[in-house]
Symmetry: C2
Subunit: 403 residues, 2 copies
Amino acid sequence: MTALPLSGVRVVDLTRILSGPFCSMLLGDLGADVVKIEAPGGDPVRQQGHDVGGLSWYFAAFNRNKKSIELNLRDPKGIAVLERLLSDADILTENFRPGVLEGMGLTAARLREINPGLIVVSVNGYGSTGPYADRPAFDFIAQAMSGYMATNGTPETGPLRTAPPITDLVAGLYAALAAVSALRSRENGGPVQRVEASMMMSMLSMMAYLSSNALATGRDPVPTGNDHPIASPYGLFRAADGDIAVAPSTEVIVRRFLREIGLEHLLSDPRFENNEARLANRADLNAMINEALAGGTQDDWIARLNRAGVPCGRVQSMTEALADPQVAAQEMVLRIPHEGRGEIAMTGFPMKFSETPLHVHHPVPELGADGRASLLDAGLSDAEIDALIEQGILGPGTRGDGG
Amino acid sequence: MTALPLSGVRVVDLTRILSGPFCSMLLGDLGADVVKIEAPGGDPVRQQGHDVGGLSWYFAAFNRNKKSIELNLRDPKGIAVLERLLSDADILTENFRPGVLEGMGLTAARLREINPGLIVVSVNGYGSTGPYADRPAFDFIAQAMSGYMATNGTPETGPLRTAPPITDLVAGLYAALAAVSALRSRENGGPVQRVEASMMMSMLSMMAYLSSNALATGRDPVPTGNDHPIASPYGLFRAADGDIAVAPSTEVIVRRFLREIGLEHLLSDPRFENNEARLANRADLNAMINEALAGGTQDDWIARLNRAGVPCGRVQSMTEALADPQVAAQEMVLRIPHEGRGEIAMTGFPMKFSETPLHVHHPVPELGADGRASLLDAGLSDAEIDALIEQGILGPGTRGDGG
């Protein structure tokens, strides 16, 4: 098996739920050896989402390429086991509320003692300093506070939450980038450091022209739904059998679009001759476009317009998107055989590497299944591990087939 | 000045508009030396967004920490200059349509000849293979095709585009993570490789439980707007002076929430005793919660509920979010003095590094301003540079104060 970009990197993962597990999964996808430490009973996400044969596919989608140890960190013996694992790690990932790690005795000073090379990666709600540092975090709240929700929706709906837990995911992605960058730096003689990303600030950084224009003008953007605030034609239009999204980004492409649908003559009509005029007469223009498109199917128009260089596509439902031929060509739905759980489907790897393609090198772990192997590896004996299981420090799922 | 995580890394950047420039800016923020090659006239985003004193703050927000060379790559002499820059680079970033780079003569074989260590980073719409590889890309279309739009909105709105160009940004972030990972791998003896991320596949990978559940059940999610599909109470509620978002994630936190607002007794009412019952009677429950909250202000409730461990927060507009005290504490609005352009405001760095804090080490570049310095650095003479300006290969903005 070819080495992956992070092969040989050891991650001890204390994260749970979503933002942190996404970060540690990205590190695992990139080839790191990720040991997920789960509290007794396991990550709550094991109980969320649709259950297939006893396994949550939602959990599976965020915890592939990880090992699992079920370990009671409320007991000092559990902390001692964790410290053994940390002594040999490159990276510790955590998404507790700021201060919780320190409360477990794992202060910066203690971590330095255990392992002076350890990079600590934190994902949290609002950042570890500032007036909201101690607040409990949640995606919906970070969407609301970052200004994102106020831009999503229409004037009729008002501020609208978006369904995917986008602030968790963007923060997890930033945290992974920070982690790999800090690792690369340390490996090149740079300092050992603590890195973090928060859900609210990560989302704020994604507001693009909405934040730039607000900073420049002091005015808030108006939510415009599917109408582009400053471009026409743009949006959803109706072909014979369903909607298509069309986004002509320049005058040249507007001309190509109108030419393909037989409306090029409108560009010599004063009501439509330039973008400003078209914005003023958007409703009329859209009606004419819908009428023109009614003569063809989605597939016809999409093929034809794309050939002419007009960005457009079908509005796909989730299941349609997952069945899309391009999604198949990009191997973006994985079907992973799993011992005891049948075949598990999940979305694939959006990062493509020409020489070291990412793949599932460790299946979704059963709770605690890698405890014995990982702890033997960390230098514990089978007898010590058996005693820890006996004492309830290691969970009952700790595989008993070692020694 | 302390070295940053990517100090010493050289990036030649052919990207324009948004997805690619976000990727190369992240590399620049992390400390890489990024030379942005702009076609004559410059990146089109220089003309987009609100203009302050002749500068687009939208452009500024995606092009800090880069140098600029205005170079005509339609002329073989321009390509020759580019090849000089590439011969000494670690990373080439590009977001052309697949095949365009090769069309410029920069095939994989030629790039290997010029620089056998060069990592090529591509951001594109749909991936460089598969039936849609050649289609023009645009955020709105990637939102539609990835299944994302169909989950955003409410049953009344139907599929709804979100305002921030989220597919550009997520793809740019993935591409940066892939780039740093490939670099780290190469520096550790791994292969030199080409990496890429596409807008549609990056967005598809962010659908979380929406895609997991669709794969598990074959059914599409229903857009639910601000109501959580499977949790109640949850959503926006009305305090005396405005809305607050409340997201109690467990039964324990639901109890804390209802206790704080004086409604704990509802939990012994069969209509509200568990989540299932509350979902069935959501409208009644929400009305009672709104009535209870009407007695206090947003600030009162938010302070009180957060203290009780209930995730909640204000729904902030863009300008409110930018003025938030936590945003200030996290230094998430930067005000950068700029020679000739006054002070430029932009959002800051969501990645926090304890030992090497990110900062603006190169201001937003004027078009072509770094051409002379960068090319002298690459070994060209002042006379050669003057000749290239004379021939129109280098733009008129190329700083004339060398030699």
